[in-house]
Symmetry: C2
Subunit: 728 residues, 2 copies
């Protein structure tokens, strides 16, 4: 996704992936044709030796029953496994749609040259020992990509496991046997993990539309591939394992669009310090901030998974069942214990344990035995056969107060696991608008039933807890989908003014902006700062204080003193002329003694904001995702509770408000114990204005307004102090 800038803009404006694909078809088209559905595949480095990857890929291609032509390329063999072998690409006499390269790293550039010569457009480089082994490898990788760019070749890899498309019988990988065809696309930055996933999936009938090992992402990256599988009709769910993201901003913008069409389930590792260190020594890439990732995923609707198991738990449901209309969960079970566990899990996740409608209960009464529990969880009892399950599920699914049904089964003496599974599949198909999930507990005794469920599209879980976690993920996704369209408000501001200040500082290589100019920047973006003026004599100071009204604050005024408090250059809460005069004289007398070289321009006399609560508005620029906005409660709360929240800029009004709500002590802002609350919309506006400022000025690396003093509704918040750091 190297030329995303343009695509991103189009996307952002139209809001339709269709348009994007219409306007920027290059990689998506190539992926769908040459990579996912090639008419012919050349394997450069194909081998006769069974222990070699060059043999395994060829064998996998043949075993999978690939329908197109296969050209093994190896100067040392005439035939491999009965196929005619070519000494080099040129000798094929035809241009293969896809070339798989397995030769040693040093030879890869020359093979790429051949690809260019023959007119190949799609290449997968399996070979390792590139960027991941250090400087030399990195140079080699750059050389390869250079050739590719010049020739218009797109490259997956190097250092990858290959590509699998079950529906096309294409197994261009050394990952394992061809899995079943299905609706899940899987992209993995770890080849070894993909092999394990393939093995697990094959053991439990999980089907895939595409499996791609993305390797070093030297050319084609996760974003290209997400875009391609988003456009792929066979893919209903996009899942992936990532250790790093190549272009955070582009990623967020595209993922946000795609999430509206297909759910994206990601497992992202390397989020902790220990994990980041391990990732960095493994891939040589820098892990981004975990907070920024969280925020990016939330914004773009990506469903984050904590483990591979969880990812497949979720993927099964998203691929096979409709989305629930709401959070109300009903349970049908043949045993009390698991029913209680499910109820616990529903409440712990913040979902709703459905209260069944009166009609539903009457209907259940009519055919269930007297000892059955007719309320949620509906207990059809230990002797329930398939027909009783079918009846109960049917009735409960019809309940207007139920959004999703979880069917639990434990293998008891009379239990019909397979027949019950068939009944569940039947009812689920008959009522395709509400999701049905199942949890058959056990192993051998429920094996047949589990297979029936899986093949019938009813996702099966190994515990009530994991089924409920999946329902929760679906409900959260529906919540994200139903959010209003993001509209970022643009405030009228004096951009030119800030431009001048920022450019002047950068020219002079001054990276921290001083108080006067910080204030000017804030005012240019509509913030109100405390009134005040510079005094050069005690008389002046007293006069200014008189005009402002007491109490006032005095601050030493010098371009050379950034940390005023440290040198006794700040006095707050001055309540009388005498206090002002004393403070002025003491500063003027003492500070030059401490800092003889500081050029002192005077003392700032400023109104003091006493009323209202103090909060902090801030921004940090994340290396991957750009401006990450911060909101924090002031005072002791920040220090003791770290009561802050984050979100990526640019902020909408809703997102800014959500940042406030996400703090633990939000209620303090609303007012507790008779205390009048503060004007919450004005804080949210402050965050949006700051978001606009840092979005329009990417030169600002870090910034915070602290304290931002905010009073009751209708009052004007004051940006008392700001710290702005630029990036050269």
């Amino acid at each position: 996704m190297k030329n995303f800038e343009k695509a991103g803009t189009i996307l952002y404006n139209t809001g339709f992936l269709g348009n994007l694909i219409g306007s920027e078809r290059t990689f998506v088209d190539m992926a769908l044709e040459s990579f996912f559905n090639p008419r012919s595949v050349a394997i450069v480095g194909a081998s006769r030796q069974k222990s070699k990857v060059g043999y395994e890929i060829l064998a996998n291609m043949m075993e999978a029953g690939y329908g197109g032509r296969i050209f093994p390329v190896n100067p040392k063999a005439d035939t491999i496994e009965g196929l005619k072998c070519f000494p080099e690409l040129e000798s094929i006499g035809d241009t293969p749609d896809l070339v798989i390269i397995i030769v040693p790293a040093k030879i890869v550039p020359s093979v790429m040259q051949q690809c260019a010569k023959v007119g190949v457009k799609a290449v997968i480089i399996i070979t390792a020992a590139f960027r991941e082994v250090g400087k030399e490898g990195r140079a080699l990788e750059e050389q390869v990509i250079q050739i590719a760019k010049q020739a218009g070749i797109r490259v997956i890899g190097p250092n990858c496991l290959g590509l699998i498309v079950p529906a096309n019988n294409l197994n261009a990988s050394f990952g394992g046997d061809l899995p079943a065809a299905g609706a899940i696309a899987y992209l993995s930055q770890s080849g070894a993990l993909l092999a394990a996933i393939l093995d697990m999936a094959n053991a439990s009938d999980i089907g895939f539309s595409k499996l791609v090992s993305i390797g070093n992402k030297a050319d084609v990256d996760e974003l290209d591939l997400i875009e391609a599988v988003a456009a792929d009709d066979e893919t209903k769910v996009i899942a992936g394992y990532l250790e790093s993201i190549s272009d955070g901003n582009a990623f967020v913008r595209l993922a946000e669009q795609i999430s509206h069409i297909k759910p994206i389930l990601l497992m992202k590792s390397g989020g902790t310090q220990a994990g980041a260190k391990a990732a960095s020594s493994h891939t040589g890439s820098l892990a981004g901030s975990e907070t920024a990732y969280e925020s990016a995923f939330e914004r773009s609707g990506i469903i984050r998974c904590d483990s591979i198991k969880q990812q497949f738990d979720y993927a099964q449901a998203f691929a096979n069942q409709p989305l629930p209309a709401g959070p109300r969960v009903a349970v049908v079970t043949n045993a009390g214990g698991p029913g209680i566990m499910a109820a616990d899990a529903v409440e712990r996740k913040g979902l709703t344990f459905a209260k069944l409608d009166g009609d539903t209960v009457s209907k259940l009464t009519s055919r269930l035995p007297p000892a059955a529990n007719l309320h949620n969880p509906v207990d059809v009892l230990g002797d329930a056969l398939a027909d009783r399950y079918e009846f109960a599920l049917d009735v409960v699914l019809d309940d207007p107060d139920v959004d999703v049904v979880l069917v639990l089964l434990t293998p008891q003496a009379m239990t019909e696991s397979a027949a019950t599974a068939e009944a569940i599949v039947k009812v689920s198909r008959r009522k395709p608008t509400k999701p049905v999930l199942a949890c058959f507990l056990g192993a051998a005794k429920v094996e047949e039933g589990v297979k029936v469920l899986r093949l019938g599209g009813v996702p099966q879980y190994d515990s009530p807890e994991s089924a409920v976690a999946t329902i929760d993920a679906m409900v959260r996704y529906v919540g994200w989908l139903s959010k209003p369209k993001r509209v970022v408000k643009l405030f009228p501001v004096n951009r030119r003014k800030v431009e001048n200040i920022v450019e002047r500082h950068l020219r002079q290589r001054i990276l921290e902006i001083g108080e006067t100019e910080s204030k000017e920047i804030l005012e240019a973006y509509g913030f109100v700062t405390p009134k005040g003026s510079i005094a050069t004599t005690a008389d002046q100071a007293a006069n200014i204080a008189q005009q402002l009204g007491y109490p006032v604050v005095l601050k030493i005024w010098s371009p050379d003193i950034l940390h005023k408090s440290d040198v006794g250059g700040v006095k707050i809460g001055l309540n009388s002329e005498r206090q002002v005069r004393d403070a002025f004289d003491l500063m003027i007398y003492r500070i030059p003694k401490k800092l003889p070289d500081a050029h002192i321009l005077g003392v700032l006399v400023q109104e003091m904001c006493r009323k209202g609560k103090e909060v902090i508005l801030g921004m940090n620029r994340d290396p991957h995702f750009g401006a990450l906005m911060m909101f924090g409660m002031g005072g002791v709360m920040v220090e003791v509770l770290k009561d802050v929240s984050f979100y990526l800029a640019p902020l909408t009004a809703q997102e800014a408000k959500q940042m406030l709500i996400n703090t633990k002590t939000y209620r303090i802002l609303q007012g507790v114990r008779g205390d009048v609350g503060v004007d919450i919309d004005r804080i949210s506006e402050g965050l949006q204005r700051l978001s606009q400022l840092v979005t329009e000025f990417p030169q600002i690396k870090e910034m915070d307004i602290n304290p931002y003093v905010i009073g009751p509704e209708g009052t004007t918040p004051i940006a008392v102090d700001a710290r702005i750091t630029l990036e050269p």
Copy 2:
């Protein structure tokens, strides 16, 4: 555990389970002999019909290869499955060690009479339709237990699945096939769940020492059985699924002792509102408070599990591996991705990702390929064979800075799953002092290896995350084990005084204790309350205020007014004689108008505690576990953050202090931003005194001291106000 009172006391005093078992052998002995290892078993209600439970249990007994004698009892059959059948118990002519009853509920009492007559001591009642179906069933159950008690018979059930002892080839259940013998004892309150567990365990070679379905717990309860398996040599780990606990206090006291000898892993459901409701409609028992359960489990060292899967994840490690000496985890892997996942999981759990010793790194360098990562996670690379794993694991296990090693494997082209597993088992056995866990990712390709690991005692996990969660459980258990012995300090108090007040109130059926007497109670237990006296005239009020020093508080004084604030009967912050006189006169004038019937004795003039921070000390009596102490931060913190913590009484000094530390804003007590901290030990002492009071007076149902005003070190905290409610 009906006669636990005595046992509990003995335990508590000696601190050794051995002593308990020595002095109270009745049930433990019977369990180990008649229930777990009977020489003969009678099956009353044995049936020839294959669909009946009475047939299934007999068949299971025979299939398991039980070595003792089996007596089917059924008046309608001569033989069943080739065994001679008896018309009734008496006709056997011998007293069976164990009787299993499967006849319809109404007939159970008469069978119990026969048991009594024949001299049977151990009975399992499989039959359902007792307490769980309502009033009639409850009466029937009571009748059965009545007979049992008179005859000295101990009963497991009714409404249960039975009992399994693999090592003795005893399968007295209709739960499923006999599992492998092992070191895990499993007790389940849900029969259906036990059947599912059995099925899962049989599919993955998990072995058990005992499996017991505890049913309605009409006689033998979870505590009896925990005690029995604690004394059982074959059991190394006690695991169980519970929906309710019969005797909370006894449970905590015994579990605390047993946890020092064997780990107890419990899954407790019904903790949420929805879960409790489901549990109550299922079992008819009342779920206790979740907080009390948490606290009880923490106190007694019980390892709580969130799911059955997690329980077996944990049990495998506890049953087969030594405990880690500390939290430092090292990882050996053949793939980067899973290594990063493990590092993430370690940090998220708060464990330490080990930094390998220099020697270890040098040793690894000597034999690993140059591309291998020699630091944690140690990456032996994708082409690692078993010998490379063996070498790396051996070296890493020797590192003095490593407490536990997790070995990860993904199935790659050259991977030797089974041979690697053998190598791991070998090294683990060679170095039996440090725990080794494994996570072989995949399915068919690692199946053999997984089997080798399981049989070799190296626990195997399906994800790095679940392996790390298990390590975390082990480290937490070690932390609990290393806690100092609990010593509850007894303060010298005036118990007689409180006794008088409490008894007088109860005699008069007054359940809320008024301010004067609450104060007397507090003072009797060493709390300091604010100084003050009752004034009946404004002059007196002014005099008292003068003596106390301003500011003061005025409170209306009447036995008939409990909520003084509601009627304007409290005025705080009075700073002068004039304010005191005004407040006095207004109260005396206005309150009788509002409450003409209230008998007003005067106005309390009290010193006002301004300095220091306000906290809350409290107690609620949980129906299962008794006095649950509460500590809360005062003011806005409690209201907004619900910043409170709980622990079961009686509190040790360490536990009281931990309650403070467990609040989110503990640092505020320590002092932040130059603010002087408060005397933390005095708060802890207050909690211990309150704990002693409510322990010595179980008549106190609820109590709190709010606010408890606490100043800097060396100052005396003041118990300003208290609320005490008695239980009739």
